[in-house]
Symmetry: C2
Subunit: 232 residues, 2 copies
Amino acid sequence: MTGKQFTSVWVREPRKPASPGRSREEIVRAAVEMLDEEGLSGLSMRKLGAKLGAGATSLYWYVAHKDELLELVYDEVWSEMIAPDPGRVGWRDSVSAVAHGMRQAILRHPWSADLIGRLPALGPHAMLVADRMRKMIKAAGFTGKEVDFAISTLTAYVFGMTIPEIAWNTAMGDRYDADEMRAVVTRAAAGHPDMLERIDMDTYDDPRAIREMCFDFGLVSLLDGLERRLAT
Amino acid sequence: MTGKQFTSVWVREPRKPASPGRSREEIVRAAVEMLDEEGLSGLSMRKLGAKLGAGATSLYWYVAHKDELLELVYDEVWSEMIAPDPGRVGWRDSVSAVAHGMRQAILRHPWSADLIGRLPALGPHAMLVADRMRKMIKAAGFTGKEVDFAISTLTAYVFGMTIPEIAWNTAMGDRYDADEMRAVVTRAAAGHPDMLERIDMDTYDDPRAIREMCFDFGLVSLLDGLERRLAT
DNA sequence: ACCTGAACACCGTTCAAGT
DNA sequence: ACCTGAACACCGTTCAAGT
């Protein structure tokens, strides 16, 4: 009678402990490779099958459907987000390290940006990261619901900073042209004089460096704000 | 010789000032409707054509390709993010209002979460929101690059908080079952004792209320942190 | 100037059939 | 237990042809 609403790879057992033929790990590894090379729209079950020297539909024995495969590769990205153990370094430093690690992992696998809004992060690696963060936040002094709130706030910041960054990267293609970018933004900002002052700033000359600065600015602000919660 | 890297609806003229047949506005409106009802994967050019009583491919006269249509509908979401003019209310209040407005607009149109990582926000409505925010941030006292940084930080927070929220909503389907959710999370958190303490908390009984609290907690923290930047 | 239909090269997924 | 191929119901996009 309790209708199963929630479906996910993580709530059903894998087919077999160890299979002789292809394996889930092999498939996931190949999928990540394909995604890194061709992006989310470049991944198809048929092409992935071909890449593994298998028939177009044989992957369906290991994976219920494409979405399940995506859950698997998504957690693979989380596996690269793991920061060093809390250790003796202060909570601000460890949290900053995770934050930077998360951003870098997403930037390395831009297709993952699309998955954040599509799949809850329930995989084992996501859980490990969450657990580490939890320890850091508790070490900082947070208690009760505020532990969850602080974690959510921090990951929200990292995701929110990184996801639109990827939109820009992919929209601009491989090569970056500062002048073209200035032209695009100038055109878009037409009619908003306040925004135009941005254009002749050096912001567009080295976007990567600026983004790092921006990320750090926001992170420091957020950490300061969280610290203030602890004082009261 | 300058290779066109950057393509977007916003950098090319629309076909015609006013056409007698179908119009871009009509198409965009129908697309938003379809997206609200069926989600991003439910929108196809063919079905949209049919909905408008047109042949499967006639939309291609108004829109270069599907991605361009998505840019258009994306900006439509931004049009719902507009907050009241700065007015005499303090910068913290106006910024909070925009933040909540942005979150609500995205929640109303969950498909937009996927677009944030795919399309730079360059449409006229996105620009208007950015312009308003810029005025608020300047009124707060920020100058130079920090104006941009503060804006980016705030929108990052809102996006990052809302995007995974949508992942949860869609994964859980229409009806929410607190016990099922607790079971799912318990299972995922197996092996992380620190995380399990979360389960018996009342967190899952009214997720909507908790999320609001969480959003406010993070927003206040962030605003406090930004305010600290101004002091130094 | 606008719309159509057929056609091309793809998709995810199911399922009976093979080994 | 694992893999295959054919088949179904879709996609986005191009383009010659119509009005």
